[in-house]
Amino acid sequence: MLVHFRIRRFNPEKDPKPYWAEYDVELEPTDRVLDGLNAIKWYQDGSLTYRRSCAHGICGSDAVRVNGRNRLACKLLIKDVGNRIEIEPLLGFRVIKDLVVDMEPFFAKYRSVKPYLINDDVPPLTERRQSPEQRAAFDDTTKCILCAACTTACPPFWTNPDFLGPAALVAAHRFIFDSRDQATQERLELINGRDGVWRCRTVFNCTEACPREIQVTKAIGELKRALLYNRV
């Protein structure tokens, strides 16, 4: 089928301002939107620029806005979008070139919640024990691939770029609810600040945007309850 792409393009090296470029591509209905981008880059215009790697929804490179919604281009099929596809870079970050945005501020927020296990006890000779129930408490938030689809779909983040945003909160949840971690209070304080968890307005855009189907809003709700009742 013939698919019409409108792509938001901007190369600061030469373009005074962003513009829309249009391409027609012959694709199969079961092709990925990423296949469309590749077809344009490989056979029509080599300068079209985007990130991609695994092409099956695991590496998190190719989060973009497709017809106004944040999606991974490799996890969205043409038949599920239709024959008119509009693609823009994620909102809220500086555009480096075309669909490539500066991810540094996003990773800085991730780092700020101490996203690593903290446990200063001398480890046992074998594994630390954790029951399947304890493991299940944070299973959902271990799925995060840091694609930034959730954070850049979040209206409170758009209005306040200092807000930690859903992805960093998901990382905090992953460790706060891990029975092996000993820094619960420290992390709860980190997310309790001005730009922390209370900026969340329960819009559910993050949950809708997550390509890993993480229940992001639910996880943030669990963090709020942990703070309110001081209980994990």
Binding site: I96, P115, T142, R180, D181
Partner: protein
């Protein structure tokens, strides 16, 4: 000199092996990690099923059994000293990962859960054993996340989206690397005492592959271009269960959990090929069985695919144990694994060969194990060789963790006693020249067109089943492709984020590596593991129980051979 950096150690690549090495190094010596992707994008993250270690949490197991399975799985081409070391150290490294926070799936009593996997057996081949430690079907994702998180904790210096384009090796001493900062397009020279290469595989040589678009074998080709040898390049693994036409992997853990393979007549055809392990036979055997079934007209609808049947596991078990593959099947095929059969075919998956190393991951310059001073390699880009002629499932994750760690530990000691070797006078010249040539091209060829031709022809002539005439034909095709590559024209001539230029560079790597595969495969007149020659269908230990070394000398590829280290497992016929 502009854009000059000096670090005791530089790690190239930020998948499992690179991050593991970086963790060892950065706690002790100034270290930089250069990666063409953000670390969490690395291909380690797509590994699904598990990491093999004889913990014995559910049933009796011993690392010696794991070692036997690895050697037999590798069709006796593995170096057995390296295998012993890997299988022994696997146990401690899995515990170490758990202590670092890896959220393994758990047994009811809170221990790391384990499940069966292809070719892993109890008591030297008697029956399948539960050895694969796992985190649902996203084990690689959890390893990558955990290691990246530990790197953040240890304040590792990352240079994200810096793509290394040359390794500065002269007079058998490594002096650093040259990289491009992708965002700005500027070249940077990294002066180092030790360089650890960990850039992964090169599945993009083939049409159908489970590998990421970025798996282009960068450092493997760069090492070859610097006149160093590569080892066992003819051994490339095809995983039997890729999603039909797309190549996306459906983990072997599906079969570990009880899924079965069916041909077009609805038969469990693996019963005929591997009566003991059946669907859990090693990957080379299953892929080759599929090839035979297709040729006998027993593919589904007489075509080149089969069905993976997981339906009888039930929805609950599928959702708990295999959530990601359920998601893939739903997303890309519109099917429900609890109700539908999954169409699958073999997919290019893993390079057993690569940059030859010793047990401390030092890169070797010849068949008598002389190391290059200050150069290391670990993970899929390296060849220790633990996987021999065919890698067992779960052993790639074992390899990256064990040998990434060993590379890091050895490099720490090395840099403490070493001085910085001087850089060559104009270290960036080779890279500048290569980029300038590509940017100024005016011919009519496109990289995409050439790459598609390469991938199709390698799939047809140098994949699961090979024959001398086909390989000779492929050699000629490669010469033609190389000629056409010199006439490539780019549409993007800018500096910033010029991914078209980098794809052109990467295509050059694929071309180099394809040639080493074909030349090594043509010379090896036997069938062993993943290398199957229709014209030489038997294994021939008398002539070929040895490793291939290939290097470029004055433009020509030259072969030499190295004996296999055999300790306790004498070669036997390989039956499952």
């Amino acid at each position: 000199m502009t854009m000059y950096h000096k670090y005791d150690a530089v790690v190239v690549g930020a998948g499992g092996a690179g991050l593991m090495a970086a963790l060892q190094l950065s706690r002790r010596v100034p270290t930089a990690v250069l990666s063409k992707l953000y670390p969490t994008r690395s291909h380690t993250g797509t590994a699904q099923g598990g990491i093999g270690a004889a913990l014995g949490n559910l049933e009796e197991d011993h690392w010696e059994w794991h070692a036997f399975d690895t050697v037999k799985g590798g069709d006796y081409l593995s170096d057995q000293d390296a295998v012993d070391l890997m299988c022994r150290e696997a146990i401690d490294t899995v515990y170490e990962l758990e202590h670092d926070g890896l959220p393994f799936s758990r047994t009811p009593d809170g221990r790391i859960d384990q499940r069966p996997f292809g070719g892993h057996t109890r008591d030297f081949g008697k029956a399948p054993v539960k050895r694969a430690c796992y985190a649902a079907d996203r084990t690689g994702h959890m390893i990558l996340q955990t290691l990246y998180q530990q790197c953040i904790k240890n304040q590792v210096n990352f240079f994200n989206e810096y793509q290394v384009l040359d390794i500065l090796v002269e007079d058998n001493i490594c002096r650093g690397v040259v990289a491009v900062d992708i965002a700005s397009g500027e070249l940077h020279t990294f002066h180092a005492k030790a360089v650890i290469l960990a850039t992964g595989g090169f599945g993009r040589i083939y049409r159908i592959t489970s590998n990421a678009l970025s798996n282009t074998g960068d450092s493997v080709a760069q090492v070859l271009r610097r006149g160093l040898p590569l080892e066992d390049m003819e051994f490339y693994q095809f995983h039997p269960t890729g999603i039909y036409k797309m190549g996306i992997l459906i983990t072997e853990a599906a079969r570990g959990e009880g899924a079965i393979l069916l041909n077009g007549k609805g038969e469990r055809f693996m019963q005929r090929y591997a009566p003991t392990l059946v669907d859990l036979a090693p990957r080379d055997m299953v892929s080759r069985a599929m090839y035979d079934e297709i040729r006998a007209g027993r593919g589904v609808n007489g075509r080149d695919y089969f069905y993976l049947d997981v339906r009888h596991l039930g929805r609950e078990r599928i959702n708990e144990k295999l959530p990601d593959i359920t998601d893939f099947v739903k997303t890309y095929l519109g099917l429900d694994p609890a109700k539908d059969l999954i169409p699958i075919q073999p997919t290019a998956h893993y390079a057993m060969g690569g940059i030859p190393t010793d047990l401390d991951a030092r890169v070797l310059v010849d068949t008598s194990n002389t190391p290059v001073i200050g150069l290391y390699a670990a993970g899929e880009c390296a060849c220790v060789s633990v996987h021999g002629a065919n890698r067992l499932g779960t052993n790639s994750l074992v390899d990256i963790i064990v040998f990434g760690r060993r590379a890091g530990k050895h490099a720490v000691e090395f840099v403490r006693g070493a001085e910085f070797a001087p850089l060559p006078p104009q270290p960036q010249d080779r890279v500048r020249e290569e980029l300038a040539r590509l940017l100024s091209g005016t011919g009519r060829e496109t990289v995409a067109g050439l790459r598609q031709t390469l991938q199709n022809e390698m799939w047809d002539l140098a994949s699961i089943v090979r024959v001398g005439d086909g390989l000779k034909q492929m050699k000629e095709r490669l010469a033609d492709l190389r000629d056409r590559y010199s006439r490539v024209t780019l549409g993007d001539r800018g500096r910033s984020f010029n991914t078209e230029l980098l794809e052109a560079v990467e295509f050059g790597y694929l071309l180099d590596l394809a040639e080493t595969i074909v030349v090594s495969a043509l010379a090896r007149e036997e069938s062993r593991g993943a290398h199957f020659r229709e014209d030489f269908p038997q294994r021939d230990d008398a002539r070929w129980l040895r490793h291939t070394f290939i290097r470029r000398v004055n433009g020509n590829l030259e072969l030499s051979y190295k004996p296999v280290t055999i300790t306790r497992f004498q070669p036997q016929e390989r039956k499952y």
